[in-house]
Symmetry: D3
C-alpha cells in the first residue's frame, strides 16, 4: 500500500509516554501487531487516553450484549458511515468473536439481509438509525428493542457504542486512517478451514 | 418543566464516587448550578470520566481556535443534529465567551446567515459537513480551511470537537437529556444591557 | 450587528403608501418596534399587502388552534427550514403567547423532545412533514390528527400556516432578512422572573 | 374521473361573495372553464383573496422575466414538489405562453435536460434549489443568475414565484386538489398542428 | 426541437445489422414512427439486442399484471428518476393501454394522488421504493403486495420491470436520449374526443 | 449458512434448458463452483439469457477500461446500493483481476479513500453518482472524465456497467440473493502470500 496510515505525524513508539507505549505493547503481544488506530491517535496523547478509556468502558464491561454483538454494532454503524478503518478492523474482530467468516461482510454491506437473529436485527436497526439520524430515535424504536428482550441498560450499551463510533468514524475520516493489512484476512482462513 | 432530565436513573450527589462528586461541586462553584450533562452521565461513572477527559483535552487545550470558536462548532453541529441539550447549554456558553447575545441562536439555526467572520464560516462549513456526512470530507474541504489560515492541528481541533459532539448529541438523544432552565437566559441579559 | 437587515433596499417610512405606513405604525405602537419583516417586505407594496392579508386570515381567525399553537407551527417549520428571522421573531411571539420561556427553543431545535402535549406533538409532526416533503402527506397522517381531536378545518389551519411560512421562510432566505435585536430577549426575562 | 377535486367542501358559485364570484366568471369568460384552484380555495374567502392578490402581484407585474419564464418556474418547482394540480394546470399555461407543446413536460420531469436557453437553465436551477432546500441558497447561486444577466429585482421575482408556489403546492397536497380535465390537452393540439 | 436525440452517433437504418433493422421496421409499421430508444441504443448492437430481449421477456410475458399496469410501473419509476424519455414515451403507451388520457401524467407526477385502484397504489409504492432505495425493500413491503392479491411471481414482475427501467433510465440520462415529438400527443386526443 | 440463496424456487441443473445448463457447466469448469446469480436467475430463463447477454456485451468487449476497472465500477456502485451478493461476488473477481487483496473492501466501503489512481477515482465518482441519482449527471461530470483521458465510448462503458448493475442490485435485493461461501475468501489468501 502506498498511502500513509494517517494524514498526521505518526509518533515513534520510543517517543511516546510510558502508559501509551505499554498499552501498545500489550495489544501487540496479544494480536501480533499494533492496530493503526493506536499509533495514529497517539499523536494526541490526552485524546488517545480518553478514547481508549471510553472504548474499554463500553466494550469490556459486563453487558447483556455479547462481545460479538458489540462488534456487530461497530461494523454496521461504521458501514453506513463508510469508514474503511472501522469496517475492516472491527470486521476482523467480529469474525473472530463470532467464529464466523461471513457475518462481518454481510453486516457491513446491509445488516437487514445478514444471517443473524431477529434480536440482532432489531439491535442493528436501532444503532444504524441513531448513527445516521440521531434526532429520529423515538419511543417506538425503544419499544422494538424491549420486545426483543433488551433492558434499559442494554439500550444504553447499544446507543453508547454507536455514539463512540460516531466519534471514531469521524476521527478516522478526518485523519484518513488506514487499516493494517493484517485485518483483511483475520478470521477468514482458520474458520473457513474447519 | 415536567419532563425528567434523563430517561435513566439520576444518581444522588452523595452516592457518587469522590472524583466525580468533586468535579460536580467544582462546576457548581463556578457556574452556580450543575449542568444536567454531569448528573445524567454520572449514571455510568467510567463513561463519565472518559467523556469529560475527552472534553477537557479538546476544549481546554492551547489551540488556534478561540474558546468562543470551539463553542460555535458545538452549537452549529448540535443544531444540525437537532440536539436540544447541546444547543441550549453550549449556546449559553457561546454567548458568554463571545460576549454576544445574538450569535448562538444565529449559529444554531443557520450558520451560513450568522454574523460571523469568513474564517468562522469556513470552520463551521467543515464541521457541519463532518457532523452529518463524515464520508464526504474531501481534500477540497481541507483546502478551504487552509485558505482561511487554519493549520493542520487546527483542523484536527475542528474535527475532534465535531467528533466528540457527534458522540455527545447521540448520548443526549438516547437518554433524552434536558437542559437546565438556567441556560436559556444565560448570556442574554447582561450583554444586552450594555 | 453589522449585517444589513435585507439584501434589498429598505424603504423609509415616509416614502411608503399610506396603508402600509399605518400598518407599521400600528404594530410599532403595540410592540414598541417595527419587526423587520414589515420594513423589508415593504420594498414590494403589493406583495406586502397580500402577505399580511394571508397572514391575518390564518393567524387571527377563529380556530380550533390556540394562538400559541399557531406560533408553534411557525417555529417548528421555520426550524426545519433553518430560517433565522422566523425562528427568532416567532419564537419570541410563542414565548409570549404560551407564557413559557423554554418552549420556543425546544420546538425550534427538535419538537419531538419538547415539553408539549401529545396533541401538539401530532400537530407539529404533520406540519414539519408538509413543510419539508409536501408530497409525502398521506391519509394516515390525517388520521393521526383526527385521533387527537383535530377537525378537518383545524387540519386546513395547520396546513395553511405551514404553507404560508413555506413562502415566508423562502422570502427570508432570499433577501437574507435579519431579526430585530429585540426579539432575542422578548418573553424570556419577565416570565423567567415569575 | 371519480375522485373529487378537493377533500374540502366546494362552494357553489351562487353562494360566494360577489368579488370572488366575479373573479371566477372573468376567468371562465377567458379560459372557457373555471380552474379548480379557484373553486376549491374559495372555501376560505379571505385566504382566496390573499392568494390571488399575491399571484397577480408576481405573475402580472412588469418584470425582466417573460410570462412563459414565470410559468416555467411554477412548472419546474411544482415538478420537484410532485404537485399534480400545479404541474398539469401551469404546464398548460406554459405551453400556451411559450407556443411550444413540448417544453412543459420537459421542464416538469427534468429541467436540466429541457430544450431551453442557458439563462432559463440558471433561472430554474435557482428556483428548484430554493423550492426544496431554501436554506442552501448562497452567494454563489445569486452570482450565477447575475452572470446570465438577471438583475436583483429579477432575482426577487424568481424567488417570489418559487415561494408563492411553495405555498400553493402545499395547499394543493393538503386538500388533494385535482386538475380540470381541460388542462391535460390545452396547448398541445393547436401548436402541434402547425 | 434543436437538441439532438442522443449525445452519441445515431446509426443510419441501412448501416444496421439485419435483425436490428427488421426490429425497427416492424415497430415503425405498427406505431408509424421509430421510437428514439431504438435508433439511439442501436449504436451498440449487442447491448441493443440484450436490452430488447430483456424488455420483451418482462413486458410481453403472461403475467398477473395487465399491460397497462406494467406501463404504470415504468412511468412511476421513471418519474421519480426524472427521466424525460421514459416518462414521455411510456406515458403515451400507458394512455393507450389504459384508454385513459389522464392517468400517465398523474402517475408520473405523484402516483399517490393518481386516480388508480388501491392494488395499483400498492404496486407503485413497492416499485418506487425499489427504484430509488433498493436496499430498503423489506418483508413488510412484500406483505402489502400480498394483501392486495399479488403472487410471488407478480412481485418478481413488479421488481423486474422496476429493475429494467433502473437500467433504462440511467442509459437515457447517460446519452441524453430525447423523446420523439409524436409521443407527447399520443393517446390524448382520440380518447379525449370520446 | 441457514438462509436460502433466493426467496424464489431454484431450478435443478437437470431441469434447465440446454443452453443455460451449458453456460453453468462452463462457469463451473472455470471457477470450480456455480455462482448463485446463475442458479437463482435461471428461475426465469428468458430474463437469464438477456441478463447474461447484456453482461457479456459490456464486461467482455474491447474497452478503454481494464477488466479490473470494470469490476471496480460494479463493486463501488453495488456498495452504495448495499447489495451483498454483488459486493461479495464481484469483490472477489476484482481482487483476482487486480491481483490485490485489499482494493475490493476499500472500494466497497468508500471509494474516495481507496488506494487507486486519480483516473479510477474520477471513474467511480461518475459511476456512483449515476447509480444513486441518475438525474444529477451533468456536463461537468463528463468533463471530469475527459480530463482523465476517458473517451466518449469509455463513458458509455462506465455508464452502461453502472446501469446494468442498477438492474442487478435491484434483482438481488428483490429475491434476496445470497453469495456463495467461496467468494468471501477468493483472491485474499494467494495474493496475500506473495
Amino acid at each position: 500500500m502506498s498511502k500513509p496510515i494517517s494524514r498526521y505525524p505518526v509518533p515513534k513508539l520510543e517517543d511516546l509516554p510510558q502508559d501509551i507505549r505499554e498499552k501498545m505493547l500489550a495489544v501487540q503481544g496479544k494480536a501480533g501487531f499494533i492496530p493503526n488506530v493506536f499509533v495514529t491517535l497517539a499523536h494526541r496523547p490526552d485524546e488517545f487516553r480518553a478514547f481508549f478509556a471510553y472504548h474499554d468502558a463500553l466494550m469490556l464491561r459486563d453487558s447483556g450484549l455479547t462481545k460479538a454483538e458489540r462488534e456487530m454494532i461497530v461494523v454496521a454503524t461504521s458501514g453506513v458511515n463508510h469508514c474503511p478503518y472501522c469496517v475492516i478492523a472491527h470486521g476482523a474482530i467480529l469474525r473472530i468473536y463470532a467464529k464466523n467468516p461471513y457475518v462481518a461482510d454481510e453486516v457491513a454491506i446491509d445488516h437487514h439481509k445478514a444471517d443473524i437473529s431477529e434480536r440482532q436485527q432489531a439491535m442493528l436497526d436501532f444503532a444504524v438509525k441513531l448513527a445516521r439520524t440521531p434526532e429520529s430515535i423515538a419511543e417506538s424504536d425503544r419499544a422494538k428493542l424491549k420486545q426483543q428482550g433488551f433492558s434499559e441498560e442494554d439500550i444504553w450499551d447499544i446507543g453508547g457504542i454507536t455514539a463512540l463510533f460516531a466519534l471514531s468514524n469521524r476521527m478516522a475520516h478526518l485523519i484518513e486512517m488506514r487499516a493494517n493489512d493484517e485485518f483483511y484476512l483475520l478470521g477468514r482462513v482458520q474458520t473457513a478451514k474447519k
